[in-house]
């Protein structure tokens, strides 16, 4: 499989970050890992990112606050929320800012496919 695109994964659980990285390693060219929303925003500032995978529940800055800041900066990067389906309210809020997909933890079944679609979407927007 040809590797393409750059993905940022934001999650406060280090073991989950590693698992997601392992899952995507074969299909994604560059993977950035951040343990908090704030760190993730710094990565975005300094790198070209095609897709963000983000947890919804995180201490300090949750997934909704991350997407809100990114959209405020006029960045239309596809946002995949990797989350437990516990919080309807946060999902609702996230969708208002533009969600590419919601993937349910801990399943990794569709991750590669959805990330591939998001990268292609991102590339198509840049043309």
């Amino acid at each position: 499989m040809k590797k393409r695109g750059s993905v940022l994964i934001i999650d406060d659980q280090i073991n989950l970050l590693e698992t997601l990285k392992l899952t995507l390693d074969d299909s994604v060219e560059k993977i950035y890992l951040s343990q908090s929303g704030k760190d993730g925003l710094k990565v975005i500032e300094n790198n070209k990112i095609d897709c963000i995978i983000c947890d919804v529940f995180m201490p300090e800055m949750n997934g909704v606050e991350v997407i809100k800041t990114i959209r405020h900066n006029n960045l239309n990067i596809p946002f995949i929320f990797y989350t437990g389906f516990g919080s309807k309210e946060l999902m609702f809020e996230a969708a208002q800012y533009g969600a590419f997909d919601f993937l349910e933890k801990p399943s990794l079944d569709k991750l590669v496919d959805v990330v591939g679609q998001a990268i292609r979407y991102s590339e198509s927007k840049k043309i």
């Binding site: 405020h72 929320f81 969708a95």
Partner: protein, 545 residues
């Protein structure tokens, strides 16, 4: 109101147009301090241009006079267009006035009131009265209505016809639309379809707080009085075969009920170029959903496609999904109903929204809804519904007089002039509703706002209605009748009483003066309340515009 308002005249009578122009530029402009532009639109044979739709959707048109004395050959298409405009938020409050050439035309075109017209005039010498009435209705207090000698304290029961429309007919039930609410569980209907149904009471099955056609505010599905297997056959019984045979025999003249398409958008101009799809689809646009009516609306119309233009809710680009949530929650309550929802200006992908709302049939696009994409969705949907089974639910064409029906009920007549009537009725009737009077002479009357706080009387409401659709001869008779009963009150209003009064009335009649009745005690006036969009309509209460 800063923009120029338009008064349309659809017809070819240059004299009428001249009078209208004069009225707008002299009387109306002075009273309203508002410039009104008169625009003449002619409909050459078989041709409809986009002017009326375009100007109406922009929200510029206040009144539209349609001259049917010109034998507008395109009037089926015109009525389709009016129906379309009545369903769109920006053009719903236009005041449609029908101009007839004769009493015969009035009878022939009585279905116009089921198509959104609320005033009618048999063309004659009194154009100024027509203008005063129309502008009075459109602008309310700005243009004063005229005063006439009034017979007061009549206090007599009088049967009238409340204009209604037969909007759906099937073998098991039919649906009517009207502006009134029943005081019981049935309506006495006057219908022109099957002889046996000419004037009959029907039980109400369901009351919907929505409608198929926009001219009306209420909708009721009604049950045929079919006798059960053990029921005794009475004069009121109706054999199921009678209705079934009638539908089978008339199928070629009936239309299948068109599919509804709902569009929630602030850009109603988008619909300008799809009015031609009116025969297949019924388009309705609103700028937003209303929590109190959405359930009833979906239950009744079951639109197969619903377009929702999402609006920005903050400066970070978030969109408002509350309306989407309300819509999907409402749809979920209806087990057999699963329309396709199309969200435009949507930052999320359909799959994400689908998971969020747990609803499969939805599409999302980032762009605003365009005519091109709208047409594409409609074409696909058209192909899909071709394969669906026939529902057996039919309706009548806009120009089919059988569509026009009346609900017969008695009002308490309070006062009468040759120009207006006041009465008391137990339930609320929205402003601008039309009633048909057969006595003392044949005329129509439209409920008008009277600018006083309407307080519900213990037993009901007082109303004032403007008289129209009356011939010159009938008006003379009405004047005679009013003048007679001012001095000689009557005990009932029947055909015989009216004939006797007219026969014995002196030829010389009292002039139109209010002084003649000043000694009469002032009766209680109708009470009105409410503020509605479009032109400043300042009354309070229920309104159909």
């Amino acid at each position: 109101m800063s923009h120029n308002l338009l008064v349309l005249y659809l017809g070819q009578d240059t004299e009428f147009l001249k009078d209208l122009d004069l009225f707008c530029n002299e009387t109306a402009v002075t009273k309203l301090e508002q410039h009104l532009l008169v625009k003449n639109v002619c409909y050459p044979k078989g041709y409809i241009d986009g002017t009326v739709t375009q100007e109406s959707l922009k929200g510029n048109v206040v009144i539209a006079f349609v001259d049917f004395s010109d034998e507008l050959s395109t009037h089926k298409a015109l009525l389709d267009e009016i129906q379309f405009l009545k369903r769109q938020k920006s053009s719903r409050s236009i005041l449609w006035v029908a101009l007839w050439g004769s009493e015969d035309q009035k009878r022939e075109f009585s279905y116009l009131f089921s198509n959104g017209f609320i005033l009618s005039y048999i063309k004659g010498t009194e154009n100024h009265l027509l203008f005063f009435d129309s502008f009075h209705l459109a602008f309310e207090k700005e243009i004063d209505s005229l005063d006439y000698a009034r017979a007061r304290n009549i206090n007599l029961k009088l049967k009238v016809g409340f204009i209604a429309s037969l909007s759906l007919i099937s073998k098991n039930f039919f649906t009517i639309e009207t502006d009134i609410e029943p005081s019981g569980d049935q309506f006495l209907l006057r219908m022109g379809i099957i002889d046996k149904l000419k004037e009959k009471s029907f039980k109400i099955k369901t009351h919907y707080f929505s409608n198929y056609q926009f001219p009306f505010t209420e909708c009721y599905s009604m049950i045929y009085p079919y006798p059960g297997p053990w029921d005794e056959i009475t004069i009121d019984s109706l054999q199921k075969e009678t209705v079934e045979t009638w539908i089978d025999n008339n199928q070629s003249k009936l239309k299948l009920l068109p599919k509804f398409i709902k569009v929630y958008t602030s850009n109603s101009l988008l619909l300008e170029d799809i009015a031609d799809l009116n025969d297949t689809f019924v388009f309705e646009s609103e700028d937003k959903m209303y929590q109190d009516t959405i359930d009833s609306e979906l239950e009744l119309k079951r639109p197969g496609l619903i377009f929702i233009e999402l609006t920005k809710s903050d400066k970070n680009g978030a969109v408002d999904l509350e309306q989407a949530e309300l819509l999907i929650k409402t749809i979920r309550k209806k087990p057999t109903y699963e329309p396709v929802l199309i969200f435009s200006q949507c930052p999320s992908q359909a799959v994400a929204l689908g998971k969020l709302f747990q609803y499969k049939n939805l599409l999302a696009m980032e762009e605003a809804l365009s005519l091109k994409s709208l047409k594409l969705f409609l074409e696909t949907y058209k192909e899909k519904i071709k394969k669906e089974e026939l529902t057996g639910e039919y309706c009548f064409s806009n120009i089919d007089s059988r569509r026009s029906i009346e609900i017969i009920d008695a009002i308490d007549l309070k006062s009468l002039t040759e120009h207006d009537v006041t009465f008391f009725y137990p339930t609320q009737i929205p402003m601008y509703s039309v009633l048909h009077f057969e006595l003392p002479v044949d005329f129509y009357a439209t409920i008008i706002p009277v600018y006083q706080e309407i307080t519900k009387h213990q037993r009901g409401f007082y109303y004032k209605a403007i008289i129209h659709g009356i011939s010159e001869d009938a008006k003379k008779d009405l004047r005679k009748f009013v003048n007679q009963i001012i001095y000689k009150p009557i005990e009932s209003i029947t055909k015989e009483v009216v004939e006797s009064i007219l026969e014995h009335a002196p030829e010389k009649i009292i002039p139109k003066v209010e002084e003649a009745v000043t000694k009469e005690a002032d009766e209680e006036e109708p009470e009105v309340s409410q503020e509605v969009g479009g032109v400043k309509r300042r009354f309070k209460g229920k309104s159909k515009l």
